[in-house]
Amino acid sequence: MDGDSLYDSLIVRRAREPRHAGELADATVQAAGSNPLCGDRIALGVRVDGDRIAAARHVTKGCAICAASADLMAGSIEGRTLSEALDMAGRFHHMLGNGSSVELDDLPESMAAFLPLKTHRSRLRCATLPWTALEEALGHD
C-alpha cells in the first residue's frame, strides 16, 4: 500500500487501540482543540500534581493521525514536569516545521512515526492539534 510509511503500524495500532483515551475524572486542567478545516476535535484532561503531570487522558474524534498523536502524546507527558512537557510540545512542532531538518531531537522514539508528515503538509495539523491543546491546557501560547 503506497502511503504506508505515514500509516506506520504504531499509528494505526494506537488509533485503533488507544492506551490513554477517556475522561480524567480528577483532571486539574482541561483544554479542547479543534481543526475547523476537517472537524477533528480533541478534549484533553491533565492532572497536575505539584509541577508534574500525574496523568493525561484524551477524547479524540478525528483521523488516525490525530488520534494516535493524542494517545502517544498523553503517554509521553505523564511523569514529566510542566516545563518538560511544554518543551516537548515545542520540539514536536519544530520537528515537523516547514523546512526543518531536525529529526527526533530527544523526543520519545515513538514520535518518529510522524516524520513522514514532512511530505504530507496538508495533514500536519492532524498531528500537532493534540500538542497545541496541551500548550493551551498548560497556559502557554
Partner: protein, 416 residues
Amino acid sequence: MIGDTTLDTKNVADLSHLRAQFPILSETVHGKPLVFLDSAASAQKPDAVIDAMSTMMRTQYANIHRGLHWMSERATEAYEIARSRVATLLGANAREEIVFTRNSTEAINLVAYSYGSLLKPGQAVLISEMEHHSNIVPWQLLRDRVGVELRVAPVTDDGDLDIEAFGDLLSDGKVALVAITHMSNVLGTVTPARRLADMAHAAGAKILFDGSQAVVHRRVDVRALDADFYVFTGHKLYGPSGIGALWARRELLEEMPPFMGGGDMISTVTFEHSTWAPPPAKFEAGTPAIVEAVGLGAAIDWVEGVGLDAISAHEAALTAHALRVLPEVPGLRIVGRPADRGGVVSFTMEDVHPHDIATLLDRNGIAVRAGHHCAEPLMRRLGLNATARASFGVYTTEAEITVLVETLGRIRSFFV
C-alpha cells in the same frame, strides 16, 4: 466551437479523445497516473479554455467599456460575447440579465445584500438543511443586519428535501425569498426545482437557486424552472476560477440597489449625488475579471460542443456504476439515497476516517475530497463529522472508478 467533440458515453476511444484535451490528465501524482475524482470542488480545464485565455492576453487585451481604442473595443466585445454565452446556457431572456461575479458565493452575497436590503423585519428567508456555507452565511448576515427571520427546511434520512416541511415553512406567507441548492455538493441530491419554485411563488416568495453543481451536470433553463435568481461559478464548469454569474429577472435587477460602488456601475457622479448605470453594469463595479470571463465563455462553448445531454448521460451512467460497485468495499457506506442525483457520491468506511482515506488515495494518485464539504449543518443532521467524496466530470472513466474501488479495498484491509 469544437464540433468534432461529441461524446458516446460507452465509447472508450471517444472518451480518450476528449480526455486528451485536458493537459493535466496526463500528469502523474506520486508516480501514479492522476485519477481526478474531485471535480465537484473544481473541474479541470480543457485546451479550449486555456488557449482562449492565453490568446486573449496575447492578442486582444485591454480594459473594457472605457477605451475608445481598437484593443479596448475588441476586449469589450469578447467580454460581452461571454455574457451572451452565459445567457444562452441558462436560457435567459436577455444578456442584460447576466451579472458577472467572482463566483457563486459572491453572487449569493450580492443578492443577500442588494435584494436583501429591500426586505423588512417580519419577513423571512427560507433555506434548506443541505446548503453549502455560501448559501447559509450570507443570509445570517442579512438576518443580523435587517432583522428578517432565517428558516431552514429539513432533509429526509435519504437526503431529499422534506417537501412537506418546506411547504409548512412557506404557509404563513412571511417568506419573501427561498434560497436553495439545485444540487447538493455533498449528497448529489438534485432538488425538484420547478416544484419548489411553484410552491414559493404560490406563497408569495421569490426563489434563488444555487446552481454551482447542477449547471455542470445537466441542462438548466431558468425560464422552465420559473426561477427568480440563479447563480453558478465558472471553475466547476471547466472554466477558470475568479468568474461566476448571477442570473436574475430583469425587473428584479432594476429594482435592486447596487452591491458595490465604483467605476463602470454609474451613470453620472457628482460629490452630492450619483446615479446608476442600468443592469447588469449597475452590479459590476470596477474592472471585472475580463480574461476569466472570456475563459468562461470558451468553457461554455466547449461544454455545448460536447453536449450537456451527452455529459448528463455519461455522468448518470458513471454514478449508477459507482453506486453499484462502491458498496462492494467492506465497511463502505454510501451517504444519502436521494431520488434524483448528480455525479457526486459521499461515503464513509468503518474503522477508517475520511481524511485517512483521502490521504491514502492521494498516495495512489487518486484525488477525492474529505471533510465537511463546507456543509457543517448537513453533516450534523447526518450525524457525521466528515465524509469522503468522489465526484465525476465529463472526463471521468469507468476504469477510474474501478481503480478507486480496488484502492479503497486495500485501504480498508490496511486498517482492519
